[in-house]
Amino acid sequence: MSGDIILETEDLTKEFAGFVAVNGVSLRVARGTIHALIGPNGAGKTTCFNLLTKFLQPTRGRIAFKGRDITSLPPTEIARLGLVRSFQISAVFPHLTCRENVRIALQRARGGSFDFWRSKRVLDTLNDRALALLADVGLAEFADLTAVELPYGRKRALELATTIAVDPEMLLLDEPTAGMGHEDIDRIAALIKSVAANRTVLMVEHNLSVVSNLCHRITVLTRGRVLAEGDYQTVSNNAEVREAYMGVGHA
């Protein structure tokens, strides 16, 4: 870990008609850390992700990634710079198999879009890598099933595998463990930890045991504003955070 800031926002704001979803958020994510964004439903967490990856244009404010102002870049450029997101509701190709879904993401990471013309041997190496990633998320035995046939929780795991396959410097994960069973949550948490060994992760997550075990730093949003920030101990002892988000029974 170092004090180097990889992602920084300044006064980030998004107004919809009659509704301020994100209101003057200044966020600093240190390189090599796992940083959590938590908060009540409707606090603006996903909107923040949409602003950072430019699926939405901010009303005002500034976003810098690796020291470069990315506020006016399109989503594709931001992904190419190494800032890649997953979605809260799965976004995979439904009629491709799990293996094919991951392979497409791997082709992107290779940098060439013309792998269609490469020899079969190149694609076979991608197959091995795709299978390894599927095994990491617990989907090895479903490699040849089309995504549409997977139950919800496994679709989420597949999307995580495709996000990791792109091999970005920084990952934004939107509720990576939502819809998963206990056996899957531990596996995904371990995976995020291993993926984060040489990357930066910013994640929205409601499972507080995952947050407390994984995350170095936590920013709590409520009504579009930063309510509190710090390590798990600090934010979980904050009375306002307990009232707005954690409720009783989470120390």
Binding site: F16, F19, I38, G39, P40, N41, G42, A43, K45, T46, T47, Q88, I89, E149, L150, P151, Y152, G153, R154, E175, A178, G179, M180, G181, H182, E183, D184, D186, H206, L208, E243, A244, Y245, M246, G247, V248, G249, H250
Partner: protein
């Protein structure tokens, strides 16, 4: 079975089989839910829990076997006829109509019985919905869509609620609120069949549990027997 004095369960599922196209998902599921109970279906991803709920509602490709509600057979009925008998389903994908606003989504399902929650009660439960009454379905956050999906069926007065992962994507403080709501619905006489991966949440609510594996019920026990069954559950679920 022939004992006429024995009260028939509100929902009796027997030998239920279901298919999605070629895929045979449920292989003879048998269980029952008595009036006023909260029953939880446990099991790993892909065990058939969601398919069981969908099969009760009649929204799978093909089903065989028997599903009796208040003593009457549901297999063979269309899903809207089943809903009108007084069964409501809250799907995991939430199913919010994107082009309708919160109020329209809330009022779209007809009231099928008296005794559902009033709009005011739903807003007390989920204040976000009141604040965002004029927002389109797609403009809501994931958690707000989940609140709307639950609130929407509480209005209908359906006496049997099928809830598929109602706590998914919700903040801990809201999950606790949903727990209190389910307890109060139970006190008011509602019957609830719950699919829930959040085992700690389910354990505070359920009267009985069924464990599913590979499209069948493999275990059942009452809440009082929970501690004695934790080791087995650990094997089944990894909790």
């Amino acid at each position: 079975m022939l004992d006429a004095t024995r009260a028939e369960p509100l929902l009796a599922v027997e030998g239920l089989q279901s298919w999605y196209g070629e895929s045979h998902i449920l292989h003879g599921v048998t269980f029952d839910v008595r009036a006023g109970e909260v029953v939880t279906l446990l099991g790993r991803n892909g065990a058939g829990k969601t398919t069981t709920l969908k099969s009760i509602m009649g929204i799978v490709g093909q089903r065989k076997g028997s599903v009796r509600f208040e003593g009457r057979e549901l297999v063979g009925l269309s899903s809207n006829a089943i809903a009108r008998r007084g069964i409501a389903f809250c799907p995991e994908e939430r199913g919010i109509f994107a082009s309708l606003d919160v109020e329209e989504n809330l009022y779209l399902p007809p009231q099928v019985k008296a005794g559902g929650l009033s709009t005011e009660q739903i807003f007390t439960l989920f204040p976000n919905l009141k604040e965002r009454l004029r927002s389109q379905g797609t403009k809501l956050s994931g958690g707000e869509q989940q609140m709307l999906a639950i609130g929407r069926i509480l209005r209908t007065g359906a006496r049997l609620l099928l809830l598929d992962e109602p706590t998914e994507g919700l903040a801990p403080v809201i999950i606790q609120q949903i727990g209190r709501t389910i307890r109060s619905l139970k006190e008011q006489g509602f019957t609830i069949l719950l699919v829930e991966q959040n085992f700690r949440f389910a354990a505070t609510l359920a009267d009985r549990y069924y464990v599913m594996e590979h499209g069948q019920i493999v275990e059942q026990f009452a809440n009082a027997e929970l501690d004695a069954n934790l080791e087995k559950l650990h094997e089944y679920l990894g909790v």
